[in-house]
């Protein structure tokens, strides 16, 4: 692709013409050669830019920009190739600058390089880039500056093509073994999946034979024992319907939000290759984005929809998100709420009861403000308090009044969660992992407790 030509006398260039003339005229008028000599130099410099413009006016350079992939993880590597062809009959030296957005840093090679091209020569330059931030990044435009004194006279060939690259959240450093994930899933299925009779493989119960039942489902041993026809009933397939409520409100900001987002992505890796499904509702005062529940096999497309979410600055309202769920008939799901205890707590908790009436199990994940705020606050970073005792730091950054208030809020939340049969998880800083926390939570559920619960359900 032929790069577009761009010629422009810059403000500096115009000032130089003006100053050159002014110096010479003034110098001659007052008979002062101190001014005349620099004036001549200005003229020489400006004239040389014009001459180089006339020389390279018809210089055509073919430029091709390509990237090795269009979506990637943060902290991943990307190769960018630029192919330049000099179709003219002259050798040219020039400066080439690759425009990259702030999501990338160049490795080993600076973004601006000076190279020389022989006539009819083609060169391929490859830059290696490291993605340092997630988001929607761009590569391009590529600029070639021909001739000297570019800050006076821009003589450029620009390839205005921009390549969009999706940089997904970083791969978590703690690799949780698949075995743990499987165990967690089994446990969750065991505890949370609704037991409904139907057509499945899992055995549910025995009952009297009714006309219309399939003959192959008759349990002949039981029939022999009871001396009447007994048939087996099967359970419906037990799939989990995960539903992540991602808070985009004003209190979720900076590192806290980033971690919530990568936790959501990590949860999606839990269902990889299974038949469980996962949907995401990102909400602030209204539902900002809804990603329809997708089976574990489409996990990647789910992540592709998540990568460019940003926290909004307004107070979030949870009830609107729940109403949205009700309207879309997303019943009997495991509702995992990624939020915190800051701001208006009533608005954050209104709707939990509605979720319960919809047959959902609630897990409230609190991204602890205590830890994440310390990490984000300049006081923590500037005073180099990493070596200090943690409790001391908390005392310093959070006065006891704030801490008490925080504890009170936590108590209130636990009370409400108890009434709806929900669970509470706290994520304290980057050391905590959402999957491991869920695993710990599920270990708490014992079979005896489950039996008691079931008995209670039957009683009521």
């Amino acid at each position: 692709m032929e790069a577009a030509k761009h010629f422009e006398l810059t403000k500096n260039g115009k000032a130089f013409i003006l100053f050159g003339s002014l110096f010479i005229v003034l110098g001659l008028a007052i008979d002062n050669y101190l001014l005349v000599v620099p004036g001549f130099i200005f003229w020489i410099v400006v004239t040389s830019t014009f001459i180089s413009y006339f020389q390279h006016q018809n210089l055509n350079l073919d430029l091709k920009l390509s990237v090795s992939k269009t979506y990637m993880r943060s902290r991943g590597l990307l190769a960018v190739a630029t192919e330049i062809n000099n179709s003219s009959s002259k050798a040219v030296r020039f400066k080439i600058t690759l425009g990259i957005s702030f999501h990338f840093r160049s490795i080993k090679t600076p973004e601006t390089v000076y190279i020389k091209l022989q006539p009819n020569e083609t060169k391929k330059l490859v830059w290696l880039l490291l993605a340092v931030r997630r988001g929607s990044a761009t590569i391009g435009p590529a600029e070639i500056s021909v001739g000297p004194f570019q800050n006076l006279f821009e003589n450029k060939r620009i390839l205005k093509e921009k390549i969009n690259i999706k940089v997904l959240p970083q791969r978590p450093r703690v690799n949780i073994p698949w075995k743990t994930k499987k165990e967690l899933l089994l446990k969750m299925v065991h505890e949370f999946a609704k037991r409904v009779k139907g057509r499945g493989d899992e055995f549910f119960a025995l009952r009297d034979y009714l006309p219309g039942d399939e003959v192959k489902h008759i349990d002949w041993y039981a029939t022999a024992r009871h001396d009447r026809l007994i048939s087996k009933e099967f359970e419906d397939e037990r799939n989990l319907h995960f539903l992540i409520y991602l808070d985009l409100g004003g209190t979720m900001f900076g590192p806290k939000f980033e971690y919530a987002l990568s936790s959501a992505v990590e949860l999606s890796s839990l269902i990889r290759g299974t038949n469980h499904d996962l949907g995401v509702i990102a909400y602030s005062n209204i539902v900002k984005r809804f990603i329809v529940p997708q089976l574990g096999k489409k996990e990647l497309s789910l992540m592709l929809n998540l990568y460019d979410l940003e926290a909004t600055g307004v107070q979030s309202n949870f009830i609107n998100a729940v109403k949205f769920t009700k309207n879309n008939q997303l019943l009997h799901s495991i509702a995992i709420i990624f939020s915190d205890l800051e701001g208006d707590l009533r608005k954050k908790l209104q709707g939990l009861h509605l979720l319960q009436t919809m047959g959902s199990r609630v897990i409230f994940v609190n991204f602890s403000t205590l830890d994440f705020n310390i990490l984000a606050s300049p006081g923590w970073l500037l005073s180099k308090s990493q070596d200090m005792d943690y409790s001391l730091v908390i005392e310093r950054v959070f006065p006891s009044l704030v801490k008490d208030e925080y504890k009170r809020r936590e108590k209130e939340l636990r009370k409400i969660l108890y009434s709806v049969g929900g669970d509470y998880i706290e994520i304290n800083g980057y050391e905590d992992n959402i999957i491991l926390s869920l695993y710990r939570l599920m270990k708490k559920y014992s079979p005896t407790q489950r039996l008691v619960q079931e008995a209670l359900e039957r009683w009521t």
Partner: protein, 279 residues
């Protein structure tokens, strides 16, 4: 408890590197030296004029220039050079205002040739300083920043990635850049023709003034003819430069219109994509 772990890990693994082009510090020192030379010569000349006001004005200006240069250090920019030029013009205007028989422009104890030598050598120092600024901005002050792998993990990551790229379109090899001397030679070569053309102009002007002196031996009258005609020639040349700028085709406006329509199309495509993904 630690600060952001991923940030710390990043700092451990990657090192920020800045290329300093060889010779950049020499250029910075030369820039400072030529500034000092220019002011020193002009201060000496003003001292010869035996005018206390003019001498103190140039002394103060020289000190200000020296201090600003020292504080600025490596941060040499074309725009900051304007301040330097401004002091010279201001100094000249003030010297003219305070001018009498003993001033630096019409002194009794310095001959015309001496004044010419002083002024031209100052002018040359100032011009060299300007040229150094140009070269510095062009080749040295570029942000040659990049990151280099520091930890074993990062190094292995890059090695593996480069190995994977072999025999693809993105096969990695270090970019061969042209050397520093080639860059200098390239820029100087571009200035040969303009220098010749401007020096022809100067020679013509000199020949013209000699001719006038030869025809009219009276200094005062001949200078009355020479100076205005040279000024007119200078104005004509600057008009020529400005007219040249108008010749250059203006291509930016057309491209902007095309870009707008492309953005609209992109938006539409994105919307369609989102619909497909969500359904």
């Amino acid at each position: 408890m630690d600060m952001r772990i991923r940030d710390r890990i990043f700092e451990e693994e990657w090192k920020k590197t800045v290329i300093s082009t060889p010779g950049s510090s020499i250029l910075v020192v030369a820039h400072l030296l030529f500034g000092i030379f220019a002011t020193a010569i002009i201060i000496i000349q003003s001292a010869f004029s035996f005018n206390v006001y003019i001498f103190s004005i140039w002394l103060i200006f020289g000190l200000i220039i020296l201090l600003t240069d020292l504080f600025r250090g490596r941060n040499i920019k074309l725009s900051s050079e304007l301040g330097f030029g401004f002091f010279f013009i201001l100094g000249t205007i003030l010297s003219l205002l305070l001018g009498n028989v003993y001033s630096m422009f019409f002194p009794e104890n310095l001959g015309r040739i001496d004044i010419l030598i002083f002024q031209i050598s100052t002018g040359i120092c100032v011009s060299i300083r300007f040229l150094i600024t140009f070269f510095y901005e062009e080749f040295f002050s570029q942000e040659q920043e990049f990151i280099a792998p520091d930890s074993k993990y990062a190094k292995e990551q890059i090695e593996q990635y480069i190995l994977n790229l072999v025999k693809t379109d993105f096969e990695y090899s270090e970019i061969e850049q042209i050397g520093l001397f080639e860059k200098w030679w390239y820029t100087l070569k571009k200035m040969i023709w303009p220098t010749i053309s401007v020096s022809i102009l100067i020679t013509l002007a000199a020949l013209y003034s000699l001719l006038i002196y030869y025809i009219i031996p009276n200094d005062a009258i001949s200078e009355l003819i020479i100076v205005p005609s040279l000024i007119i020639a200078a104005i004509l040349y600057s008009i020529l430069l400005i007219r040249l700028n108008d010749v250059i085709p203006k291509m930016q406006e057309k491209e902007k219109k095309i870009l707008e329509s492309e953005e609209w199309e992109e938006d539409l495509l994105e919307e369609i994509n989102e619909e497909i993904v969500s359904s």
